[in-house]
Symmetry: C2
Subunit: 435 residues, 2 copies
Amino acid sequence: MDPQLRAIRQAAREKFLQANAPKPSKAAVADSALPEFLAHLPPERLQQSIGSLLADAPPEPPPKRAKPSPDVVVIPKERTEEIQALLRQPAPKEFRVLSWNIDGLDEVGGAQALMQRCLAVAKEVAIQRPAAVLLQEVIPPALELLASPKVLGGTYEVVVPKDPPLPYYVAILLDKQRLRALEPPSTAAFPGTQMGRQLLSVAAKVLDAEAPPVVIATAHLESTKDHGVERKRQLLQCLRFLRSELGRAVSGGRVGAAMLGGDLNLRDEEVKAVQKELGDGSGLCDAWVACGSPENERWTWDTSANTNIGASFVCKTRFDRLFFLSDWSLSSPKARGMAIASGKAKAKAKAKDLFQKAEAVPCDGWRPTSFALLGKAKVPGLGRFPSDHWGILTSWAWSEAPQAPEPAAAATSAEAKAKGFGLKPSDGEGAIDLD
Amino acid sequence: MDPQLRAIRQAAREKFLQANAPKPSKAAVADSALPEFLAHLPPERLQQSIGSLLADAPPEPPPKRAKPSPDVVVIPKERTEEIQALLRQPAPKEFRVLSWNIDGLDEVGGAQALMQRCLAVAKEVAIQRPAAVLLQEVIPPALELLASPKVLGGTYEVVVPKDPPLPYYVAILLDKQRLRALEPPSTAAFPGTQMGRQLLSVAAKVLDAEAPPVVIATAHLESTKDHGVERKRQLLQCLRFLRSELGRAVSGGRVGAAMLGGDLNLRDEEVKAVQKELGDGSGLCDAWVACGSPENERWTWDTSANTNIGASFVCKTRFDRLFFLSDWSLSSPKARGMAIASGKAKAKAKAKDLFQKAEAVPCDGWRPTSFALLGKAKVPGLGRFPSDHWGILTSWAWSEAPQAPEPAAAATSAEAKAKGFGLKPSDGEGAIDLD
DNA sequence: CCAATGGGG
DNA sequence: CCCCCATTG
Ligand SMILES: [Mg+2]
Ligand SMILES: [Mg+2]
């Protein structure tokens, strides 16, 4: 659906023109209350309607039309209660991070469908209970829904960017039980964006572990192949940011890991170029690569498996990635999970091998232990997936020092395995990265 | 004119399908006599007609129609005699290299116009008398015309690629008086080309100088922005080839310079990326940069100055470039003319400054002394330029050793200056390369 | 052989 | 949010 992208640009243009206009009327200014809404969660009423019925939505079907009008959205109590029940379960010990572009720009089915898709996302979050959730393409009604106490707002702190140029943006959810923001979140503009993209990050203390604080960042990098040049600039900015964050002294200690997860719209070629710009030996790792490049968890945007956009073409890409820097990524041999998947099958095989016997190789610092795709089931009653992207779920371990046999790491690894988190390597061979 | 590019791809596709077809009939095979024609110059008759009347074209106007039919092309004797007269003049001492995409795919005006444009190119060649001419977008009738003894065939040896996949290709002309091929020319395929592009090169002895042999290469790299990835691969292949050629022992000594000139369709961004791939310190120089980045000689494809394609838009690019490696380029400080124009005005100013007082800075080896655009006048009687590209003319000097005060170099430089070869730097400031 | 846009697969 | 193609400026 190109119209979506067209709409983005159009909205961007309008916004731009509006911003450069002589001076908007009061009415026009009221429109810009949006960023204000974002600045102070919990949610409030917006011109968009989806959240407006949230607090007191009756469980019965919509009063009039067979197809609910776009202004009347029913939030089924069963869904929110189901989510609440899941959230009442104890959080897993394992530290997980989920990144997901929830396709807030998909208008198929209107507000009702958006609500259903959002609840499906929320349910996945409640099931996996990541310590942090990185979202992209969040729009105000979706944010209001997710941030509601009846959905995720009771369990997660919602972090949003300052002054998003367009009414779709990124967000970070922090599990209040396990992460506490150590500073106000930071929003960085991408100076060259034409699509209103930003870099959002937050430094957080890990509450239930001895581990050092982490910096968690997300972005929705400039979309489409045509914008590769700008996208590379954005990635470079992000990665330099990660580098500047790692090791920085914060109130809870020194930052032990800096990660960027998101819909990065990247092609391997572009990553390679940026990596070169950054300098080799940057220690940058790609979580998917570090987890052995599991073929079954590879394609995060796949029109052959995901029917949401109704594509008449087949395209598989790995747009959604999680990059990180940590003591582990810096100290590990190059083979571990460097951002650039070496073209050589041998190097890949070695990396995969290293990953498989990770427990046998002592090393310290934050490191990923598994990588899996999420959201691959259609939303019941909707017949569509939660998003046109799969979510990417990573699990993490931390251990203090190589000389100590880090029992925690072994435990989390074992747990990950027990939960079927894709620890088993795919049987795919070291083929060249194609996307 | 998009049709041209479309035609290229279409022809490529047809060719491909044809090649993969069960087995062509005899008639279809006859079609592939084309490469054979190329393999053995001097020219022969082709299905295309332009050359068929060359040897005995009467100077009178076409017998029937007011507009000559595409099958009847008249080569004005005055034009060829003019060219011959120019060629009878003594060749300049200065070593010059010209590269020009002669737009053989431009069909405006039919065979007659093509002939006129070709003769204009030939006349420029006869005037400047480059030791080597690198041509792109040559098509069979154009080649036949240029290679004819009545045009350039008496003075220049014509080198063409083996088995061009499509009936437009590159060619190298070597002034028989000043260059002698030391080996059979080499043709390298670009494995990923969709447009039938090849790398053609020849090692040649410089007959009238003590200078070491040179390797002269040309290519027409994959066109259009969309094909940047393939184009970068092609450039990398070319530059690695140059590197492998420099210093190679040939029958006349060791190769003292390896140059690649052509319609490289490059954007600075792409050059930068390939340069990184190649490794810094490769010593690669861009002749235009090495000559002080003269602003007036910058844009080789410029729809505001060149009306041939009838563009309703303005676009200035530096598609046509000449890269080289030589003892000079390897030994010179980075500022001299590295392929990547540093974004910093300071570095550029330094490079320009170095160029201006080149005579005062002793250095040895092959080096460019001037850079100028050619073909900027419309063809009389046609009202169009010889090509949609300007030609790029470089002048070169060689000197044996830095300790010797190289009188030869000073002489050639002085001569270049005297001939107004753009030695004077432009007054443009060190602005960032924009194309 | 430019960039931006829109349709179709 | 893929690629190719065609049109427009
Ligand atoms: Mg999207
Ligand atoms: Mg052309």
